[in-house]
Symmetry: C2
Subunit: 84 residues, 2 copies
């Protein structure tokens, strides 16, 4: 699964956490790459809604990820939380 859909902050956080772990990084490691506190990374991954956009974009860059914006796919169930 190289593509993950995020419609909520929580989904987005879960995706980022998985990507970070896959890269073998701790929150502190990742934070050091972009001047973010470990605690800030924790909030982002936890799905805090009031995180700043800059923080998200920096994190994506640090994890070598990119954002794709597209019309909502209809096929998928609206229910989410299906994190294994």
């Amino acid at each position: 699964m190289t593509q993950d859909i995020a419609r909520t902050e929580k989904q987005l956080g879960a995706i980022l956490r998985r990507a970070r772990k896959q890269a073998g990084l701790t929150q502190s490691d990742l934070g050091k790459r972009m001047h973010l506190r470990q605690g800030t990374v924790s909030r982002l991954e936890g799905g805090a809604p009031a995180i700043q956009l800059r923080t998200l974009m920096e994190t994506l860059a640090a994890l070598d990820l990119e954002l794709v914006i597209r019309p909502r796919s209809k096929a998928s169930a609206a229910d989410i939380e299906s994190v294994f």
Copy 2:
């Protein structure tokens, strides 16, 4: 063209602006859909980096868009998107 890559806040803003116009909405129209002021929509579309994540997610929902997070495309042979 149904998929737009955003690696910076400015790119993201431009994509949202295009989607809004395509939906035939003004910034005020869009703002009313989610309790955001016209001025806030303006900043988001302008690429302000300190916009809050919640604001982005609400805007995506109001425009019936979704976010996809994926590894950065290499732009070489692996770039499947540029078939057009």
